[in-house]
Structures are given as structure tokens and as C-alpha cells.
């Protein structure tokens, strides 16, 4: 079991980073971005395309891909904050569902569905515990997820930029009246989460199967992780991601539980919802 759990840690780190992005989005720009990992996938695919067909060195292509992922996300953010500034979170999130569908299909068209020759940025084992090797990718994603969460927390809590962001998310009208530029800030948040998710997918994609659908559907376990923090708390999102990855790895060790593995994110989501809703609470808006 322990072996399996450690083996699942790489996936856990990936979930954690994506969960942090989802949480940031939900908190700061009122959207559950179902296209979060699809944007990352698209950026990565462009990077591979550039390195194979335009002959760019791997690192340069990766940087361009990450920037593109950020730009794509920013574009989506711009669309949403222009036309759906006042809409509720449901409508805003529904747009990202459409975008998820669009990005997957578009990547089939542009890049085909054959495996992409990803050049690993990181490769091979880092160290081993009890005979199970922990890969470099695992170490980096886990560290990255913690670092991003801590960084964002510091940014939001300690800086005036963070204060503006929080003001914007909690009292949007007041914030706008105070002259905080709502739209540019929102687009910036979109861009940053786009950059982060493309970055982490660029790191992980070369080390696992990386077809467009499975990369895009990473948003499901990530959402489960983010839900642990109620789409509010970054620390719990990270914990959720890591635990979910390890649990999936552990369950995969038992043949009879293999179907359970698929349902783990779903079960986690349902369980957390039941727990978080012991009492009926009425929000102000509706």
C-alpha cells in the first residue's frame, strides 16, 4: 500500500497545483474553470509542436508554450469579465465547459491524436523510500504545489496587490468605486493561473500518458481536491490533491478495487459535499 501511495504522489502534486489554481479562480474571479487543465494541455502541445516542427530548443519551446497557456487563459478571462461581469458563478463556469470541449477538439484537429514526442524537462528517479523510487517529477510537483500555495497566500495576505484582489472578490462594486481596476486584475488572475497550470502540465506531461483528453480531464480530481478546501482554502486544496493522488495510487495496488480508483475523485467530491452541508445555509444573493 505504501508503495502505491508513494507512486501516486506525482499525480497528487499535479492535482494539488491544479487545485490551487481552481481555488484561486473561484475565490478571486468567481469561476470554476473547467478548462483549467485543458488550457495547460493546449500550451504544452503547442510547445511540442514548436520544438518538433519549428526546431526550437526544448526549453524555449516550453517557455513559449507556457506563455501561450497564460495568454489563452487571459483571453478567456477577458471574454468572461467583459460580457459576463455581473453573471453568477454558474453561468461563468458554464462558459469554461464550452471552452473545454472546444480546446480538446481543436487539439485533435491541430495536433492529431498520436502521442506527442515530449522531451522531458525532468527525468529519472530522485531517491527511493522502502524500495519505491520517488521520481524527480514527483519531488518537483509536490514542492511546486506547496510553494505556489504559500506564495499565493503571502501575496494575498501581505501585499497591497493582494488586498485589492480580495477587495475585488468580496466587494466588487465597492472596489470598483474605490478605483480598483476590476477587469485588468481579473484578467491577470486568469493569466497567472493559466501560466501555472501550463507550467505544471509541461513538467508532468512528458512523464505520463499525455493525450489531450486525459490531460484535460485532470480537472476532475483537481476539483475534488479544491473542494476539500471548499474552493476557499489553499492549504486544504494542496493537502486534498496530495492525499487524493496517494489514495489512488494505493487503491491501484488491489486488483479488486480497480474500479473504485476511477470513482475516488467522485466519491471524495460527494463525501465532502455531504460533510460541508450538514446545515442548510442561505446565501445573500439568491
Amino acid at each position: 500500500m505504501l508503495q502505491g501511495a508513494l507512486a501516486g504522489l506525482a499525480a497528487g502534486g499535479l492535482y494539488a497545483v491544479l487545485a490551487v489554481c481552481l481555488t484561486l479562480m473561484s475565490r478571486l474571479v468567481r469561476v470554476v474553470n473547467f478548462a483549467q487543465s485543458a488550457t495547460g494541455m493546449f500550451g504544452c502541445y503547442v510547445a511540442v509542436y514548436l520544438s518538433v516542427h519549428a526546431g526550437l530548443p526544448t526549453w524555449a519551446a516550453t517557455v513559449v508554450g507556457i506563455l501561450l497557456g497564460g495568454a489563452l487563459s487571459a483571453l478567456l478571462g477577458w471574454i468572461i469579465s467583459t460580457w459576463l461581469a455581473e453573471a453568477d458563478i454558474g453561468t461563468r463556469s458554464a462558459v469554461t465547459v464550452a471552452v473545454l470541449l472546444l480546446l480538446i477538439s481543436l487539439s485533435f484537429i491541430l495536433f492529431g491524436n498520436k502521442p506527442q514526442p515530449f522531451h522531458p524537462i525532468l527525468d529519472g528517479p530522485a531517491f527511493s523510500v522502502n524500495g519505491v523510487v520517488v521520481s524527480q517529477v514527483t519531488v518537483v510537483t509536490v514542492v511546486l504545489s506547496v510553494a505556489i500555495a504559500v506564495g499565493c497566500r503571502a501575496l494575498l495576505g501581505r501585499t497591497s496587490f493582494g488586498l485589492e484582489l480580495r477587495a475585488l472578490s468580496e466587494r466588487p462594486t465597492t472596489a470598483e468605486l474605490m478605483g480598483i481596476p476590476a477587469k485588468p486584475l481579473a484578467v491577470a488572475v486568469w493569466a497567472v493561473t493559466g501560466l501555472l497550470s501550463t507550467l505544471v502540465i509541461s513538467i508532468v506531461a512528458p512523464s505520463q500518458s499525455n493525450d489531450a483528453t486525459s490531460l484535460s480531464m485532470l480537472v476532475v480530481p483537481a476539483a475534488a481536491a479544491a473542494l476539500l478546501g471548499g474552493f476557499r482554502r489553499l492549504d486544504l486544496a494542496v493537502v486534498g490533491g496530495l492525499v487524493l493522488g496517494m489514495a489512488q495510487g494505493a487503491v491501484a495496488q488491489v486488483d479488486s478495487l480497480s474500479v473504485v480508483r476511477y470513482f475516488l475523485p467522485f466519491l471524495v467530491i460527494v463525501g465532502l459535499l455531504l460533510w460541508s452541508q450538514r446545515k442548510e445555509v442561505w446565501d445573500v444573493a439568491r
Partner: protein, 395 residues
């Protein structure tokens, strides 16, 4: 409720317009019109195999350019099933029912045989699949693929691993999609029957299209496996190889199937452990100098069709078909084509190790030879691993 009325009217209009378009297809009942040949293929969606039908089309185009068959042109219709069962059934009805095709040639799809084999029986039409995958391609009376198929291929790869490479502790990780488990199990049993050896370990729960295979790899490693046979699609296999590499498991031998035999795959693999071995279902296309593939290679290159096993399958299916219908005396229609295929003499081609025959059998699973090839760490290209066909011994 007036709305419903209106919508029905709209629907009717759309459908009727579309129906009007359909008639332009033209039939091939008899006489001097074109001979309609169809195929049902996975051309879009998450897993696509466009090369088989493209190759078949190239063969037919070449035949048309040199005067056609008995003076008649061949009209080849390659339809998309999108990996969707309903679309696969619809496509078959379009080409068989509406366009009145004489036969299906060069189909390559993951689900098409399973869904349409009964319909083909009903319509008394035969299908020479380019690449058959699902079990129904090999065990139904009206379908006979040009390829070996993943099941015999699995027996072959196990034979190669245990008998040629002399590996022991072979394990199997099976990605079961659809009803393929019994067929793979039968293939493994056949290997056991021939060699008397057993698998160390079999895991049939490996997900198809999963994202991270590390835990399955860790499990196999701790079970003491030295070699692993998998029935993967390319992306999954790459994921598995990468998971093993990330675990530092560099002495594992991979006994895989033709499904991973592509140049893309070779480029994408940076660490192949102790080597990836595949019994190629057709003469290895990566052997550029070979005479066996010369004709095929030239035609494909001319038509800008990727050089893959799929295009080999489609090419061969079309060639077999042409050869058979050229021998037909009298009108070429569905009936005469079916009769000719059922009564044909075996055709030998240097691209395959077993002669092809359609015949009247209830099943068509007689192609039993593969050509071993290998992919080693760092080479990023496939190399021949033998100088003759590897065959499944007849009991």
C-alpha cells in the same frame, strides 16, 4: 405547443433537404457505372486510424488511372465512425444500404466489426478490413481482415519473449476495452499450450487511456516481473514506459504489439528499458531498403500517406480485393463479388507471412505470422530483430 409543430416542420425541412443531397451518390447496381466500394473507419475523435482507408484509396486510384476493372471505375467511399457506435452503424447503412456498395475494403476502426457484422450478414456483403481490432473482426463469417490481429500478435510476442529472448517471469498488463479479455486470454492460453509456460502475473485492470501508470508498474515490479507484455495504444504505452523509467526500472523488457509500431512512437520513447519487442503484423515498414515493401512504399510516398502498419493493411486489403474482382467473369455486383471472395485461391504477398484467403469459414483468424522488430533505449528508431517470419506453430 405550436412550437412543437414548428420544430417538426424545421426538422422535416432539414431532413428532406439532406435526403435530396443523398441521391447524388449514385448506385452501382450493374452495367457500366462505377463500382462502389466502401469502408468504415475511425477518422475523428480520440483515436483515429485514417491511413488504412487512405492507402486503399491510393490503390484504387492507381487502378482507375490505368483503366479501372473491366472498364469500370472504382468509387471508394471512406466513412467516419467517430469512434461512436451509432455513427458506425449509420455509416454502414449509408455505404451498404444507400450507396449499394459491392464490398467493404480497408476499414479500420475499433468498434466497427462488432457493431456491423450482423448487418453485413443480413445484407450479404463481405468486408476485407484493413486493420481489424475487436474480436468480431476475426470470428464472424462476413469479415476477414488483412492483418494478423492483436490476439495472434500477443501469442507471437509472448513466443518471441520466451522462446527467442529466453525470458522468464513474463507478466501481462492488459488494457481491456470492450469484450476483448476472453480473446486475449485465449491468446495467452495458446502460448501456454505451445510452450508449457505460464505468466508470472496477469493484471487485467490496467485502465485504457489512464493518465498515470506508476502504480501498475510498481505493482508489476514488486511481483518480480522481468518482462511485461501489454496490449496498449500508443499514448498508454508511452505512459507506461515513462512510469517505469521514472521508477528507475531499466532492465524490464517490453513485449508489445503492432499497435505501437510507428515512427512517432519511436521518437517519443526516450527510455525503452531493456528494449521494446514487437512482432510486426506486416513486413516492417521501417526497413527502408526492403524489396518486400517497395511497391507499397512508392505508392504511399507518392500520395503523401504516412508509412505505418495501418497503411500497409489498407493497401493489402485493396490489392487482394482488386486481384479477386479482376477474375470475375460477367457483371461485378455484390453477389458476384461475394461469391468470388468466398471461392478465391489464397494470395501470397511478400508483405505478410501467411497467404490471404477469404473463403467460406465462419471465422477468419488464419493470419499467424509476424516479423520481430525492436526498439532500444536511445536509438529512437525501430530495427529488425530477425530475418524471417515468426510463426505460431500449428498444433
Amino acid at each position: 405547443m405550436r412550437k412543437i409543430m414548428r420544430s417538426v416542420a424545421v426538422a422535416a425541412a432539414v431532413t428532406l433537404v439532406a435526403a435530396g443531397c443523398a441521391d447524388s451518390g449514385g448506385g452501382s447496381g450493374s452495367g457500366s457505372g462505377p463500382i462502389v466500394v466502401g469502408s468504415v473507419n475511425a477518422l475523428s475523435g480520440a483515436a483515429t486510424f485514417p491511413e488504412a482507408s487512405a492507402a486503399a484509396k491510393a490503390v484504387f486510384d492507381a487502378a482507375n488511372a490505368s483503366g479501372g476493372v473491366n472498364g469500370r471505375q472504382i468509387q471508394y467511399k471512406a466513412l467516419d465512425d467517430k469512434g461512436d457506435p451509432a455513427a458506425a452503424a449509420t455509416a454502414a447503412r449509408e455505404v451498404v444500404g444507400a450507396d449499394n456498395a459491392v464490398a467493404l475494403v480497408g476499414s479500420s476502426s475499433l468498434i466497427e466489426c462488432e457493431i456491423n457484422n450482423k448487418y453485413y450478414e443480413q445484407q450479404k456483403i463481405l468486408s476485407i478490413s484493413g486493420i481489424g481490432v475487436d474480436p468480431a473482426c476475426f470470428n464472424s463469417p462476413n469479415i476477414s481482415p488483412a492483418n494478423v490481429g492483436p490476439y495472434h500478435d500477443m501469442t507471437l510476442t509472448l513466443l518471441y519473449g520466451s522462446e527467442v529472448l529466453k525470458l522468464d517471469n513474463i507478466c501481462a498488463l492488459l488494457e481491456i476495452a470492450g469484450n476483448t479479455l476472453p480473446s486475449y486470454q485465449a491468446a495467452i492460453d495458446e502460448w501456454t499450450k505451445i510452450t508449457g509456460k505460464k505468466l508470472t502475473y496477469l493484471d487485467a485492470t490496467v485502465p485504457y487511456g489512464g493518465s498515470d501508470y506508476t502504480s501498475y508498474i510498481v505493482k508489476a515490479r514488486s511481483a518480480g516481473c522481468k518482462a511485461i507484455t501489454v496490449n496498449p495504444v500508443e499514448p498508454d504505452s508511452i505512459g507506461q514506459l515513462k512510469a517505469a523509467a521514472a521508477q528507475g526500472w531499466n532492465d524490464v523488457t517490453w513485449l508489445l504489439l503492432t499497435s505501437v509500431y510507428s515512427e512517432n512512437y519511436a521518437k517519443a520513447v526516450s527510455n525503452a528499458g531493456a528494449g521494446v519487442y514487437v512482432p510486426a503484423e506486416f513486413y516492417p515498414f521501417t526497413d527502408a531498403a526492403s524489396s518486400q515493401n517497395k511497391e507499397w512504399r512508392e505508392l504511399m510516398t507518392k500520395n503523401n500517406i504516412p508509412l505505418t502498419s495501418f497503411s500497409q493493411g489498407g493497401y493489402l486489403a485493396a490489392k487482394y480485393f482488386l486481384q479477386v474482382i479482376k477474375g470475375i467473369q460477367g457483371d461485378i455486383n455484390r453477389e458476384s463479388v461475394t461469391k468470388a471472395l468466398q471461392e478465391m485461391q489464397p494470395i501470397t504477398d511478400p508483405m505478410v507471412g501467411t497467404p490471404y484467403v477469404f473463403g467460406k469459414g465462419k471465422t477468419h483468424h488464419d493470419n499467424t505470422a509476424g516479423w520481430p522488430i525492436k526498439l532500444t533505449t536511445g536509438s529512437n528508431k525501430w530495427e529488425l530483430a530477425a530475418d524471417d517470419w515468426l510463426r505460431i506453430p500449428k498444433n
